[in-house]
């Protein structure tokens, strides 16, 4: 998804307006004219001016290209599925790791993504198991990061 300058300028301008409106609810430091809203307002002015500049520049240049250009990967079903799977696997880890533990959750993430990217199943499984144990030992044991534990794999910790 590629936006041209006109559309991007419009988005930035609208973003600036939205930030300005949201900053209206912020309070100042008692007795001062500055406070929580100062920085958002400054960003809003910056964004508004930039958006207007981009719109004007695009209008003067008579931008002809389509306003929304689709990248090559968006037109490929395989690429779309791969990106969706990668994002879904991150969400899966966030949801599943606290319940089933780091080792099974990370194994699922790596094996499924490798298979999606057309790695041979045996290679995917072997590499994932090794990587999973190495990461668990490095972070869980050496760096003492409290990775979610699995009851049946407690010996790893």
């Amino acid at each position: 998804m590629k936006f041209n300058d006109l559309l991007l300028g419009l988005l930035v301008f609208c973003g600036g307006v939205a930030i300005w409106v949201s900053a209206l609810g912020f309070t100042d430091i008692p007795g001062q004219s500055y406070g929580a809203g100062t920085m958002p307002r400054a960003i809003a002015i910056f964004a508004g001016c930039l958006g207007l500049f981009m719109i004007a520049k695009a209008a003067i240049a008579g931008t002809r290209m389509p306003r929304l250009e689709l990248a090559a990967w968006v037109r490929s079903r395989r690429s779309l599925v791969s990106v969706a799977v990668a994002l879904a696997l991150i969400v899966f880890y966030i949801v599943a790791a606290p319940a089933i533990g780091f080792v099974p959750a990370s194994l699922v993430v790596m094996v499924v993504l490798m298979l999606t990217l057309r790695t041979r199943p045996l290679t995917a499984l072997l590499v994932s198991v090794v990587a999973c144990v190495v990461i668990q030992q490095a972070f869980g044991r050496l760096l003492l990061v409290p990775l979610p534990r699995s009851e049946f794999l407690g010996f790893l910790w």
Partner: protein, 500 residues
């Protein structure tokens, strides 16, 4: 025995040298993993140092820090996933050099000139720290405000792509930095009732998302077909650096001076220093057009500046006990635990110990060379792993790294959100680095602006009333206005061709 001989005797003991070597290996390991930082390496070493004498304790932390900061360049160079915001300044050049088969030259330049910058900073620390610290303390909110604006301006103007797109990136970073309760009025902003967001957006998960996850998504979208890495020559890691030293001595010196001077300012640090140095390097280069396309000149200057700033940050820490960054803050705590009270009296009460610490600084920067060589050789094998196998493993490292910052799954959520944002930004040719710098420096910008405005009772003229602030302010405004004036002059000339 003189104080210096006593200091040497304290350092050159088998136990201390062993601690330095082990810390170097540890720092290298932590720094090379995307998402793990030098601060994390330092924090993890603190409990271990409780059981050590003062000199090995400080040696462990100093060595691990210097090593971790260099090692952050390794994933940046090989995978375009910089370990620190400072490394982001020259990541594009380093990565493109890797793609054209010059990864060893890129990492070698980063290694050698990091060591040079670090040693230069240490020499300044030993010889001129009281003077520099005195100047640094003259910096008030007005000077810091201009310094931050200068750093952010450099990030916009040196980023690849058009200036307006660089500004969009900066706006995204600055806006993300407004999230949380840490603002002048202490009012929650954009937290949507989420308790985790009250603390603001942690820059490490955001950086992992913007750089690493977006890179993983891009690779996945391309069917894990990474562009082939060209075969490089047989030149070693160090051999090309002699050439670079001959070609860019001024750049290395300028980077070291800039880095040390900016690093000595409490709170400014390596991030601003690296960006300003990269911008200076591009401005005065005879080959400006090559910057961002795999040119080593910017790596030389910004790499020296990066580690020069790390050494410079110790100046206010040791002379006044004022931490320049999170690492020196931790170390000041360790110094107190060990009975070494930082401040002017440290040079009078325990001179042999402080000289020993100085020797450790030199050793830490020198030991970086052999350890860095090994790390570069080992890390280079990453390039031979197919992307379809490598990317899922990197994704897992990113997830664990984001979790490890606060030991909370919320870090992974942030990583995911910023990963998608970074992916869309890259799709639209919006550079990522200004967003990172905006996120890191946003709170400093806000705090110094609001403080200054309150002090000046709303008068903008106060930003130019102090000599250093006026100098920095005029310089910053010149950076913004000179290109516009030049453009206007060029357009005004008879026969000038209007820009497309």
């Amino acid at each position: 025995m003189s104080v210096v001989s006593e200091a040497f005797a304290l350092v050159f003991q088998p136990y201390v040298l062993m601690v330095i070597a082990a810390s170097a290996a540890f720092g290298m390991f932590v720094g090379a993993i995307p998402g793990l930082t030098a601060t994390m390496a330092t924090a993890l070493l603190v409990p271990v140092t409780f059981f050590m004498e003062p000199v090995p304790a400080i040696a462990a932390i100093v060595t691990a820090t210097a090593m971790a900061i260099f090692a952050g360049d390794i994933p940046g160079s090989l995978l375009r996933m910089p370990g620190t915001p400072a490394s982001a300044a020259y990541v594009e050049d380093a990565y493109r050099m890797t793609r054209s088969g010059r990864s060893e030259e890129a990492l070698g330049a980063s290694l050698v000139f990091s060591a040079i910058g670090g040693i230069f900073g240490t020499i300044v620390l030993v010889t001129a720290s009281p003077i520099l610290a005195d100047i640094a303390l003259k910096f008030s909110s007005f000077e810091y405000f201009w310094l931050v604006v200068l750093g952010l301006s450099c990030a916009i103007f040196v980023s690849p792509g058009s200036v307006p797109r660089g500004m969009i990136s900066l706006i995204i970073g600055l806006f993300a930095a407004t999230v949380g309760i840490d603002n002048p009025a202490g009012q929650p902003r954009y937290t949507f009732g989420n308790v985790e967001l009250l603390a603001g957006i942690q820059f490490i998960p955001a950086m992992i998302g913007l750089f690493a996850i977006s890179e993983v998504l891009r690779s996945v979208a391309a069917g894990a077909d990474m562009p082939a890495v060209e075969k490089g020559g047989r030149a070693g890691i160090f051999t090309r650096q002699l050439d670079n030293m001959r070609r860019y001595p001024l750049q290395a010196l300028r980077g070291s001076i800039t880095g040390t001077a900016i690093g000595a300012l409490p709170g400014a640090g390596a991030d601003i220093a690296a960006w300003i140095s990269y911008a200076i390097s591009k401005k005065f280069s005879r080959q400006k057009e090559k910057f961002g396309t795999g040119h080593v000149e910017g790596i030389v200057e910004a790499g020296a500046s990066n580690n020069g700033a790390v050494s410079g940050a110790w100046i206010p820490a040791l002379v006044f006990g004022i931490p320049g960054d999170s690492i020196t803050a931790i170390v000041i705590g360790v110094l107190y635990v060990k009975g070494l009270n930082p401040g002017p009296t440290i040079f009078i009460n325990q001179p042999q110990l402080i000289y020993a610490v100085f020797i450790v600084f030199f050793l830490a920067n020198l030991i970086m060379l052999p350890f860095g060589w090994v790390a570069i050789k080992a890390a280079r094998t990453i390039l031979s792993i197919p992307a379809r196998v490598l990317m899922p493993i990197i994704l897992m490292f990113c997830i664990v790294g984001s979790f490890a910052i606060n030991n909370s799954p919320f870090g992974i959520v942030l990583m995911l959100v910023f990963g998608i944002v970074g992916f869309l930004m890259e799709e639209n040719d919006i550079p990522i680095a200004p967003a990172i710098l905006g996120l890191v420096l946003g709170p400093m910008l806000e705090q110094n602006f609001v403080t200054s405005m309150i002090k000046a009772d709303g008068s903008f003229l106060a930003f130019f009333e102090r000599p250093i602030a006026a100098g920095l302010g005029i310089f910053t405004i010149a950076i913004w206005s000179i290109p516009l004036i030049m453009l206007a002059i060029r357009r005004g000339r008879p026969g000038a061709v209007p820009a497309a």
